[in-house]
Amino acid sequence: MKALNDLKVGEKAVVSEILTDGAMRRRFIDIGLIKGCLVKCVGISPFKNPKAYLIRGAVIAIRNGDCADIMVSGEVV
């Protein structure tokens, strides 16, 4: 199983489990990042952290450390 921050630019995947807890978990859900959501990594910042993800039509930057607990599965072509 991969974490969200393992995605390379251009890769897509589906969220299989969010292991984050507390306020951050809620924040993810609020932007629509829930189990079953399709995510695409669309960019990486110059220092390789954070990365940018396309989530439900919006591009959102998330730090690698913060999304290490979001598990994703299955490269969707």
Partner: protein, 682 residues
């Protein structure tokens, strides 16, 4: 009779709420292409069909249940202020996400109008949205708009005029949640909380304490203080547990149902003609956030902005000072004509008028050019990219990524930057960002720094000279950013220990800037505002400094006494008493520092010529300035106490006088240390 209606304006960040608000009310809420720009509510009025509407623009929020200060403002307004209608602005280019909030709002209020904005942007991205179908599915009024185009808003106004057709929309939750809701809702029937019962039941189920504390009966008792409700909650929790849903996952379960509903709704109303995210934005992002070109363009861009500012300001400055010298001559002959006593004439002309004309001719031009350029970058959506590029250094310093954004705002105005820190969720991160905000120079300080650079550090004139000046100014800015990072790092390792809160930064599509609007808005609002503040300070300051310079105690003027008193300290820092006094008197507004210095020097040497950089330089050199003085001045201008407006804002935002004092001490300490060592070494 005239009707009055109140309207709340809700929406995700950066979907154009403020644009809708401005177009309808004719107000001048500042707009910009980045999430979190509106941190306070704004209220405006407009009339249509003999009804007066009072519209409140609420801070953008992703959800009604997150924790940042500015987001709970929006939720509380919706829940506790009885507005007649609520307009939820959605972004057509990102409808699915926008609908999450719209659905949440519809659970509280039954007078919602969904305003699908940015239809033009969605079209360019290849989305087509069936507004009628959306209205049908959700049983709610839906209007499509392109808020930048005022005409498209007439439809929204028409819908506001309609008599309420209360919709009975409900989000269907999974069966077990519905059963649990029923348990609590039945108990709630016996109480009058003046809030949607189904909505309240859900929040009770989630045990959203911070919210429930605010929901009160008329006798002041809050929800969870009532034993019947507590009992029904534990009954519901027991039931859910039996069904396999544990307490800590209930909130998730409910929220996910809303997200899924948004997903399903969106998929039914959106048809894609091209199935991709905006190509243009994608390409632009590849270049602007690339590891080499990203930084290259950022620094070159900064340099270019400064160069345009310096080069252009030069011409404007000369023109203005020419104009002022004429006004001065005119005033002089006018005062002679009406036989004004010499003393008053001197106070007005040499005191008030001269300082004011200095402020205007030296400070106005850079502002008038820099502000529109800054607004331009804001408008196209470049600011979030800067934050994205710079996030890792901030991460290393254990601070929130949004601090890069509030730092950028500080370049415009530190007080605005401090207020902007509300976009940061955690208290620790917010305080760090607030304290370090005034380490970057605001617009009131830029002109002074530019003036000193062009007088002392770049003797080369013309095109290459201004290019070199821009380069040096860029270095100065990099220095201030470096110290922002260093101080943040030190503070978070000592006084404010902790881990930074996680953050999500939205990067909106680049949008075409509205050039004309940028010019009008930034010149009329920002520049006029800052200049107005500077002038209102400059007039009394001019009079005070004139009195200081002319009231004599013994042989020496008051000014000479004070600056002689400050001289020993100032000379340790490589400055002189007059400069230090100017910084102290400049507390209300940094714009007046240089004018005060000039006044201080002039009073001794009785030069009465018109202001221009060359003459200024001569005056400075006569008073012992060297390149070292210039460098120390720039350093001290970067790092000293923030202006009184900023300090008061810090006090207001943190609610702590201690933190406000600390925010003044930190930059001062940095400035004093740097100046001291530079003075010692060179």
């Amino acid at each position: 009779m005239e009707l009055k209606k109140t309207i709340a304006l809700m929406g995700n960040p950066n979907v154009g709420k403020s644009t809708v608000f401005n177009a309808l009310t004719g107000m001048k809420q500042h707009t910009g292409n980045w999430a979190g720009k509106t941190v306070e509510t704004a209220t405006g009025y407009f009339k249509s069909n003999s009804t007066t509407y009072e519209m409140t623009d609420l801070p953008g929020t992703y959800s009604l249940f997150t924790h940042s200060a500015e987001e709970s403002v929006a939720r509380d307004f919706l829940c506790f202020e009885n507005s007649d209608k609520t307009v939820v602005v959605c972004s057509a280019s990102c409808l699915e996400r926008s609908l999450i909030l719209a659905l949440q709002c519809m659970e509280i209020k039954n007078d919602i109008i969904i305003c699908v904005n940015l239809l033009d942007e969605a079209e360019r991205m290849g989305y087509k949205i069936d507004l009628e179908k959306l209205s049908e599915i959700l049983n709610v009024r839906v209007v499509g708009t392109v808020a930048r185009n005022k005409k498209s808003l007439s439809n929204l106004i028409k819908n506001l005029n309609y008599k309420d057709t209360k919709s009975d929309f409900k989000i269907e939750y999974p069966k077990i949640i519905e059963n649990a809701i029923k348990i609590i809702e039945t108990t709630l029937e016996n109480f009058d909380f003046n809030i949607n019962k189904r909505f309240l039941s859900l929040r009770i189920l989630e045990q959203n304490r911070s919210f429930l504390e605010k929901v009160k009966l008329q006798n002041g008792k809050s929800v969870m203080e009532i034993s019947e409700i507590k009992a029904s909650l534990s009954e519901a929790l027991d039931y859910l547990k039996k069904e396999g849903l544990y307490e800590n996952r209930i909130s998730d379960f409910i929220a996910s149902a809303v997200v899924k509903m948004a997903e399903i709704t969106a998929s039914e109303v959106i048809s894609k003609t091209k199935s991709q995210y905006s190509k243009r934005t994608e390409t632009a992002d590849k270049i602007l956030t690339h590891k080499f070109s990203g930084f290259g363009i950022m620094l070159l861009g900064l340099c270019l902005v400064f160069w345009i500012t310096i080069y252009g300001a030069n011409y404007l400055s000369n023109g203005l000072s020419f104009l002022f010298s004429y006004i001065e001559k005119f005033l002089e002959s006018f005062f002679d004509f009406i036989k004004l006593p010499n003393l008053i004439k001197d106070i007005i002309i040499d005191g008030a008028f001269k300082v004011t004309s200095w402020v205007v001719s030296v400070m106005l031009p850079p502002m008038a050019i820099f502000f529109p350029l800054f607004t331009f970058l804001e408008d196209i959506g470049y600011l979030p990219r800067i934050a994205y590029n710079l996030d890792e250094p901030f991460n290393r310093c254990k601070s929130c990524g949004k601090q890069a954004l509030t730092m950028c705002m500080g370049f415009g105005c530190n007080a605005a930057g401090v207020t902007g820190c509300r976009i940061i969720d955690s208290k620790r991160d917010r305080i760090l960002a607030i304290i370090t905000n005034s380490l970057v120079p605001c617009n009131g300080r830029f002109p002074a720094i530019i003036a000193i650079i062009s007088m002392f550090l770049v003797t080369l004139g013309g095109f290459f000279g201004s290019l070199l000046e821009a380069f040096i100014l860029t270095l100065v800015i990099m220095l201030s950013v470096a110290f922002t990072l260093i101080s943040t790092k030190i503070l978070s390792a000592t006084l404010f220990k902790g881990t930074p809160s996680a953050f999500t930064l939205e990067m909106p599509p680049y949008r075409k800037p509205q050039i004309l609007k940028i010019l009008v808005r930034s010149l009329l609002d920002r520049t006029a505002f800052v200049l107005g503040r500077a002038v209102t300070v400059a007039v009394p300051a001019g009079i005070i400094i004139w009195l200081f310079a002319n009231v004599k105690i013994g042989d020496l003027s008051l000014l000479a006494h004070i600056s002689a008193f400050l001289d020993p300290v100032a000379s340790l820092l490589g400055l002189d008493g007059v400069i230090l006094l100017a910084f102290i008197l400049g507390l209300p507004a940094n714009e007046i520092v240089i004018p005060i210095i000039i006044m201080g020097y002039l009073s001794a040497s009785s030069l009465t010529d018109l202001p221009s950089l060359n003459i200024m330089k001569d005056i400075f050199i006569q008073n012992g300035w060297t390149i070292k003085t210039a460098i120390n001045f720039i350093i001290f201008c970067l790092f000293h106490w923030p202006c009184s407006t900023t300090l008061m804002t810090i006090k207001k935002e943190t609610g702590s006088l201690k933190l406000a004092v600390f925010s003044a001490l930190l930059p001062t300490l940095i400035g004093v240390l740097l100046c001291f060592f530079i003075n010692l070494i060179f």
